[in-house]
């Protein structure tokens, strides 16, 4: 006897490069599920991520699902999955995370820099010392007794080398003291890699994870990321990338910002990295967002996201053949999350160069997510609880995501993307649909259909 679902359905359309699908949302015992119906292929998909199940079903069963029934054959499976159902993750609770904005200056003059980092502003040592003391104590109190520190916010962390080196050494020394209570210190940063061997060696010896911003071969990278004199930076950055990727001390990956001019080249960019650096690392492609300096350069436009998707999937396929894992920060069935970004997890914070506290790594002057400051006279961290509560709500999943197929895989996407009015929701839904279809095709047709670009109709 068929039973009914919890709620009425909601219907959306998802267009992918190869498919046009109607998605129909419903819930059962509080778990979301979607019926995905192709406009051209007869099998439909039932997708219930928190119940950890995906079904490929024939037309008749699909029709009953779309009519509001929950057929016994489906309900039985859902009931069986209840005991192993999963809740989307919240931000990492086991560590305290400190983001540090050391400077608002940079050795490069990237044409798309959101922070327009060319200001001679550096953090003052008393601010940093107070932030470190607070973070060490807070890290020691976490369940994992872990402190994670990343250098972020606006400028290139290594720009003021003496300040950078002092901060790193003090962090390592302070956390290593037996009385600190910190069991584990993680250091990470995104860096432009525009420096020589001595700095490369210091960084590789003291950091756990690095992301090197390298947009592609010279013709791409030098256009996007010239130095302050306007000359190319590729040769120096590629040397750093090679050093870090081959270092046994530090885990490193590459991040490539993709403009309208480079989007078609994404597969070639991965091939170039494989040729230059070999494999065994991650490449993250992120679309250029037209903020900051990008607004002043006509050639710095966001890529068309349908092209980005097509080329991303091609690049991922190429990466798989040469040991490079190609990712993007958009929705992915690899994760089931309640908040997009762990960086926004108060009481963790990022300290800006001027001593203000913010929840977001890129909020260089704490204008958008600020909720406190460091009092350099007393060394105290001062939190504005009311503002902190307000900021916390900004990282919540928007109500408009309620019936979206991608909701548990992107959690509303980056709150700051929403703030600047840039959406990749269609891309997110398309990626999720593509991954679901690929999983089911692997099941029905064999592993040769597992390639991300192999998305022929079922």
């Amino acid at each position: 006897m068929p039973t009914t679902r919890d709620a009425q359905t909601s219907v959306h359309h998802v267009e992918t490069r190869a498919h046009s699908y109607q998605t129909q949302h419903a819930t059962w015992k509080g778990h979301d599920y979607w019926v995905l119906t192709s406009s051209v292929a007869s099998p439909s998909v039932l997708y219930a991520p928190t119940l950890r199940m995906a079904l490929l079903v024939k037309q008749e069963l699909s029709q009953r699902l779309r009519n509001g029934e929950l057929p016994a054959v489906v309900e039985r499976r859902m009931r069986e999955k209840l005991s192993s159902a999963v809740a989307p993750l919240t931000p990492p609770p086991n560590a305290f995370h400190l983001g540090i904005g050391l400077t608002r200056n940079c050795t490069l003059g990237c044409l798309y820099c959101h922070a327009e980092a060319d200001k001679k502003v550096n953090a003052q040592w008393p601010v940093l010392a107070a932030a470190i003391e607070h973070a060490v104590a807070a890290g020691a109190r976490t369940p994992g007794r872990t402190l994670s520190v990343s250098f972020a916010v606006g400028g290139e962390p290594t720009m003021n080398w003496p300040l950078f080196k002092r901060t790193v050494l003090v962090l390592r020394e302070r956390a290593a003291r037996s009385e600190s209570g910190v069991k584990r210190l993680f250091l990470s940063m995104t860096t432009n890699g525009y420096y020589g061997y001595k700095k490369q060696r210091f960084i590789s010896e003291h950091f756990d994870h690095l992301t090197v911003s390298l947009d592609g071969p010279p013709e791409v990278h030098d256009l996007h990321r010239p130095n302050r004199a306007g000359d190319g930076s590729y040769i120096v950055v590629a040397q750093s990338a090679k050093y870090f990727l081959r270092s046994s001390n530090v885990r490193a990956g590459l991040r490539s910002t993709v403009s309208s001019g480079s989007v078609e080249l994404m597969p070639e960019i991965v091939q170039h990295f494989a040729t230059e650096f070999g494999g065994g690392y991650v490449v993250s492609f992120e679309p250029l967002i037209e903020t900051g300096r990008a607004q002043r350069f006509d050639e710095m436009r966001s890529p068309e996201m349908t092209v980005f998707e097509e080329k991303f999937l091609e690049a991922r396929k190429i990466g798989a053949t040469c040991g490079i894992r190609v990712i993007t920060s958009a929705a992915s069935t690899n994760r089931l999350i309640r908040h997009y970004c762990g960086a926004m997890s108060i009481p963790s914070f990022t300290v800006c160069a001027d001593g203000k506290l913010t929840a977001c790594h890129r909020d260089q002057d704490a204008a958008d997510y600020g909720y406190g400051y460091i009092d350099t006279m007393s060394g105290r961290v001062v939190i504005d609880s009311k503002r902190a509560a307000g900021v916390a709500t900004k990282s919540e999943m928007p109500q408009s995501c309620g019936t979206c197929l991608a909701k548990w895989h992107c959690a509303g996407d980056c709150p700051d993307l929403r703030r600047v009015g840039w959406s990749r929701c269609e891309f997110n839904r398309s990626m999720i649909l593509s991954e679901i279809l690929t999983m089911l095709q692997v099941k029905t047709r064999g592993p040769e259909y597992g390639s991300p670009t192999n998305r022929k109709d079922s």
Binding site: V73, S148, T211, V282, S284, N334, L336, S345, K443
Partner: protein, 56 residues
């Protein structure tokens, strides 16, 4: 990493409701919420490599 584990489908009776299910996939999501325990040592993007902030 969330990925698939495939399950069954063992020869159902023709024309039965069970025969309407062509394939079934069980999804798995690793509990790698601890920093450094998953793919990522950064908290920026859950369990993936730090994107260096989505806004470049």
């Amino acid at each position: 990493m969330g990925r698939l584990q495939t399950e069954k489908t063992a020869d159902p009776e023709p024309n039965s409701e069970e025969s309407q299910v062509i394939a079934e996939v069980e999804l798995t999501f690793a509990d790698n919420s601890a920093i450094g325990e998953g793919d990522c040592s950064c908290v920026c993007i859950n369990h993936e490599m730090c994107c260096g902030c989505i806004l470049q």
